[in-house]
């Protein structure tokens, strides 16, 4: 087999690449495992070769982790740490965070150990870091800016003629969005409406800051305004807490929040399969009820066998939607509030595959695009860049790779899947207007965010880096 490796010139399709070569190689002696000497040669690799090797190592390592071969995984990690670096080039940085994530994944099999290593971060420190990093993400990427622009435009257009407007922000972390909305409402021809904003966030400090900024602005412009904070994570949110009143026109903004709701389902479905039978779905597309009526028996059996997958298989939808418990309940509850407009911004990548390898492969591409973008815009020495990479993207990567079940909140899915889910819950798509898209495109051009594109896909906007779709913004209305 080693001989086969040496006659490698692309004549046979099997041995035409180094990656392929590795797979067919049968390896010789384990003696050099502990020896550091081979690693010296690694330093001499050219960046491109190093990058390719890193990719290969990551896949290898993930494969080992997935199959439980810890020794091999360990060896791969060792190599990876020699080559990867958060200060290096793009591929090195990505590899660094994926390596950490894979290591975390292994470590989680000893929960005590894992928690002990992560126990010395104080909450105050964490909160302020988080806030800072969120602000960095906002500044360094156009994504949030475009999202806020499109969201506000859609709200303004939907609220034409409305006198009482209530906006619910499911991730109230950036006052800039609503400051712009207040201004826009102020300049509309029929005058500003009575505006009420309800902000949902898990950190009280953030909500306080937001309240302060918004109230200050509204007072300056003399607009009747009210801010209602709701301190809660979206998973624990009860729509009653939102206090929607009759007679007011409701708008909902969800920026990178809904995917968190896909997370609780594994545990939830297994524990509470009977409770889910009595889900209230006025739209009539109640998957559990369909099962009950068609089978004439409790759907528990089906559910426990297939963990919820068969629910959607029996319904009228064309694509089966996995884990449809919690998110559908939430969307239905929101639908029950009859919002005039709901604008959803989500990642447009499939990071919710059920196997590690699937997720790793997909997320490699996504984060490669995001890190590439930083590489072209920000110098390598920038501490802010390192912070965003580590604390914003690094944390996402860690969550996608290392966590499972309800802990894995970063369950990004493609726009098509989201559209289907939201549509099933009783919403109709509101295409983003020509002016909104125009403004969004000009925002990108004006800022010199070259390389970004906004595509339009069935009335929704998809923000891409080069050709890779990254985030999507879509608007929906309540369809009765």
């Amino acid at each position: 087999m080693v001989a086969m490796f040496q006659e490698d010139n692309g004549t046979s399709s099997v041995a035409s690449s180094p990656l392929q070569v590795f797979s067919t190689m049968s390896l010789t002696r384990p003696t050099l495992l502990a020896s550091p000497s081979p690693f010296h040669c690694l330093k001499d690799l050219k960046p491109e070769e190093r990058g390719l090797y890193l990719i290969h190592l990551l896949l290898t390592c993930a494969n080992h982790v997935a199959s439980g071969s810890l020794q091999n995984a360990n060896a791969a990690l060792e190599q990876l740490t020699h080559l990867a670096s958060p200060d290096g080039d793009t591929m090195q940085r990505i590899a660094a965070y994926f390596t950490e994530a894979l290591a975390n994944r292994i470590l989680k099999s000893w929960p005590g150990l894992y928690k002990a290593l992560n126990a010395t971060q104080t909450r105050a420190n964490y909160v302020s870091e988080e806030i800072h990093v969120r602000r960095l993400f906002f500044d360094m990427f156009p994504i949030l800016k475009v999202s806020y622009l499109l969201t506000n435009r859609a709200i303004i257009e939907a609220m034409e003629g409305e006198k009482m407007v209530h906006v619910i922000d499911l991730d109230a972390s950036e006052p800039a969005q609503w400051l712009a909305l207040i201004q826009a409402f102020n300049s509309r021809p029929e005058g500003p409406p009575h505006l009420r904003i309800t902000g949902v966030h898990h950190q009280k400090e953030v909500l306080d800051q937001m309240a302060h900024r918004l109230i200050e602005e509204a007072e300056k412009l003399d607009i009747p305004f009210q801010f209602n904070p709701v301190v809660s994570r979206i998973e624990c949110l009860d729509v009653e807490q939102l206090r929607v009143k009759t007679g007011e026109a409701l708008a909902i903004s969800s920026v990178l929040q809904l995917h968190n709701l896909l997370a609780s389902d594994d545990d939830f479905l297994r524990k509470n399969s009977s409770a889910l039978r009595f889900q209230n779905n006025p739209n009539g597309i109640d998957l559990q009820r369909v099962l009950m009526t068609s089978h004439g028996e409790a759907p528990e059996n089906d559910m426990s066998n297939n963990n919820g997958r068969s629910l959607s298989g029996d319904s009228a939808s064309s694509l089966p939607l996995p884990n449809s418990g919690r998110i559908d309940r939430f969307l239905t509850a929101i639908w029950g509030l009859s919002p005039k407009i709901m604008v959803v911004t989500e990642q447009d990548s499939d990071h919710n595959g059920s196997t590690l390898m699937e997720r790793l492969l997909e997320s490699l591409y996504t984060y490669a695009a995001l890190f590439d973008c930083l590489e072209t815009k920000v110098p390598r020495t920038s501490q802010d860049r390192i912070k965003v990479e580590k604390m914003f993207f690094g944390e996402e990567i860690k969550n996608i790779i290392a966590c499972e079940g309800s802990e894995r909140r970063e369950r990004h899915e493609k726009l098509e899947k989201w559209s289907q889910r939201i549509d099933l819950a009783g919403f109709g798509n509101v295409p983003l207007s020509y002016y909104a898209m125009l403004q969004a495109r000009r925002l990108l051009q004006g800022y010199g965010f070259d390389g970004y594109r906004i595509k339009e896909e069935s009335g929704c906007a998809v923000i891409c880096w080069q050709d890779r779709p990254l985030y999507s913004v879509s608007a929906w209305r309540c369809r009765k």
């Binding site: 180094p18 990656l19 797979s23 070769e49 080039d89 490699l364 490669a368 079940g405 051009q445």
Partner: protein, 456 residues
């Protein structure tokens, strides 16, 4: 005789004036004025206009309410869809002829030479103005506060919004629910067309102008020529000194220059767009808020909303990497391409083989060091994965509680060939390489099989 003619002309004018108050589309007036021109024998009588109450000496036009704000005193009429769609609602009692509009019926009845008393409607009670609501429950106009003041208006609205589009333009196959809309369209369809450089066609001059000013194609060209927010001004006659001023400050004081830029823009575009409800203007007011910096900005008081990053991180300054590194995306694509199937391209192979040879030499030593050997070297890769297939269970969602890895370590695979963690020697199977080449589709059955076989 002369008197009659004069009166008739005068009356006709008045009728037409009044008709214009009642009906919303011009197409309808034609039919009314035609009939009004034909013989009639009574004096100017405002009673025929039953739908509106106005003073008998109404040579002045009746004041119209603002659209969307109906008279609060008006009587709300909620007609059923059937009634709205009925074509001949008004029936002459004498000859049972049906008419679409009450006025037409009245005019017709005059031809029957009725005695005076029967001709008059009882104008004793105050005739309240009637407003109409749409019967469709989800509709905006369903609520009395958004009622429409006109029967024909509500009928047209109902057809347009909630009706079936039965009329189709032959030229452009655009469909209409209301016949008058269709007629009006087919008169102008294809008559005038404006074409933008980007290829979009417009029938209206105003929308063409708007579009052209902001057309992406133009914008891109300008963006390439002048990488600066000035591109917004490229199509407009802005003062050139702004241009220079902005360019000089380009790389440094991005924020303040752009906000100046936008202020100019607002003035420009304010008069350029007379068409819509000043929407363009406060569009631009959104953009300045994005551009203002969080640093003390002399220009923007109201525009300090979406602060730019501090200059150190905007990245618009030039920084140099040591070598032109390949982007991570490109690396991934290259890795995917270096899959098993590519044995064809000769020129590529040369490159690859040269880089590969040095690479491969390195690999032999390092990978040999890294991996451990299996007990049976003869075991083929495919066989290895095939072996695990009968352990495959479709587990649906993952059952990981954080302890899954420990479970994985236990060898529940009775075969004993390869599942031993010391024994795994294959890094990636052909299947995996293929799926790697298909990155994004994730048809990674072998890996998933591995994983599933360790669950529960």
């Amino acid at each position: 005789m002369m008197m009659n003619k004069d009166m008739s002309r005068h009356h006709q004018q008045q009728v037409e004036e009044n008709m214009s108050n009642l009906t919303s589309a011009s197409g309808d007036q034609a039919s009314v004025s035609e009939t009004s021109g034909s013989n009639f024998h009574y004096n100017v009588n405002p009673n025929m206009q039953q739908e509106q109450s106005f003073a008998p000496q109404s040579s002045q036009k009746k004041k119209r309410n603002q659209p969307g704000n109906p008279d609060p005193e008006a009587e709300v009429m909620a007609l059923s869809p059937r009634t709205l769609m009925a074509t001949n609602r008004f029936i002459c009692e004498i000859c049972n002829k049906g008419f679409q509009r009450d006025q037409n019926l009245q005019l017709h009845k005059r031809g029957h030479n009725l005695p005076w008393k029967l001709k008059q409607r009882s104008s004793k009670d105050v005739i309240r103005k009637k407003v109409y609501v749409c019967p469709e429950p989800g509709c905006v106009h369903h609520h009395p506060s958004r009622a429409l003041g006109d029967l024909t208006g509500i009928k047209k609205h109902f057809f347009r919004k909630h009706g079936e589009k039965k009329w189709k333009c032959e030229k452009c196959s655009k469909k209409y629910a209301v016949q008058s809309d269709w007629k009006a369209h087919s008169k102008t369809c294809g008559t005038k067309e404006y074409k933008c450089d980007c290829g979009t066609l417009f029938s209206r001059r105003d929308s063409f102008i708007t579009h052209r000013a902001f057309c992406d194609a133009l914008a891109e060209e300008s963006a390439r020529a002048i990488p600066n927010p000035i591109l917004i001004q490229s199509s407009s006659p802005s003062p050139s000194h702004h241009h220079h001023h902005l360019q000089s400050q380009q790389s440094i004081n991005f924020s303040s220059s752009s906000s100046q830029n936008i202020i100019t823009n607002n003035n420009l575009h304010g008069h350029e767009f007379s068409m819509k409800q000043e929407e363009p203007q406060h569009h631009f007011q959104n953009i300045p808020s994005w551009l203002a910096s969080s640093n003390p900005n002399p220009n923007g008081s109201s525009v300090n909303l979406f602060p730019l990053a501090s200059p150190s991180t905007t990245g618009r300054s030039n920084f140099h990497h040591s070598s032109p590194a390949m982007s991570a995306t490109a690396l991934l694509q290259k890795a995917a391409q270096m899959g098993p199937t590519k044995s064809t391209n000769a020129p590529d192979e040369e490159e690859r083989s040269s880089s590969r040879s040095s690479y491969n030499n390195l690999i032999t030593t390092t990978m040999a060091a890294m991996m451990t050997s299996p007990p049976e070297p003869a075991f083929g890769f495919q066989d290895y994965y095939m072996m695990n297939q009968h352990h495959h269970r479709h587990g649906g969602g993952e059952a990981f509680n954080g302890a899954f890895v420990t479970r994985d370590e236990k060898n529940d695979d009775g075969g004993g060939e390869t599942r031993d963690f010391l024994g795994l020697r294959s890094l990636m199977s052909d299947n995996e390489i293929l799926s790697f080449a298909n990155l994004g589709n994730c048809i990674n059955t072998s890996a998933s099989e591995q994983q599933h076989s360790h669950q529960d």
